[in-house]
Amino acid sequence: MDAADLEVRRATYRRFVELGRAPSALEVAATVATDEATVRASWRRLHDAHALVLDETGELRMVNPFAARPTDFLVAAGGRSWYANCAWDAFGIGAALHVDSEFDSHCPDCEESLHVRVRDGRPDDTSLVFHVLVPAARWWNDIGFT
């Protein structure tokens, strides 16, 4: 991962945080004073390096822990909100931004609403459990399913 790709990655994350949504390639290009094709080429290399995830059309799908598409993990932190890719990422947004956070989800079994507040890295409801279906060695075989 060279310096130019790291700069595109930094700009992609910065714009995602600022906008509360995935930035377009044009928005990232404007941030780093380059062109859209250069950003898309960097995104592809970053995808191959597991530094972000593109969808089948080449648009951002995951800028982990942020999700580009709506999910069942809506996170509020620092007066803004983002979707997270999974429960791990729902905690990850507050951790990445170094702020307290809260998020809404549902138990996949009973569909009960779950609302978790995270203060100083600790959840207020300690009765919940986290299930990881796929062994760690296979997480990136299909990161969307994982």
Partner: protein
């Protein structure tokens, strides 16, 4: 990578499928802090597999299931 009301809810939801790993939400919170805290830092550099395995190991997430390979 989902959150459940309890382990009994995980078992019911699986309907006989193979179970993965179940950890308390408090452990997940620790894992997220260790895993993601540098992610939006301007100084971020890619983690090596050894670094990531070290995070898992340090939290007691060991054994074949938690091996990154």
């Amino acid at each position: 990578m989902l959150l459940f009301r309890s382990e009994a809810h995980v078992d019911r939801w699986l309907r006989g499928r193979d179970k993965g790993a179940v950890i308390p939400i408090t452990k997940l919170a620790e894992l997220a802090t260790a895993w993601w805290s540098d992610r939006v830092s301007p100084e971020w550099q890619p983690h090596t597999r050894e670094q990531n395995q070290g995070i898992l190991d340090g939290l007691g997430l060991t054994g074949p299931f938690w091996s990154l390979g």
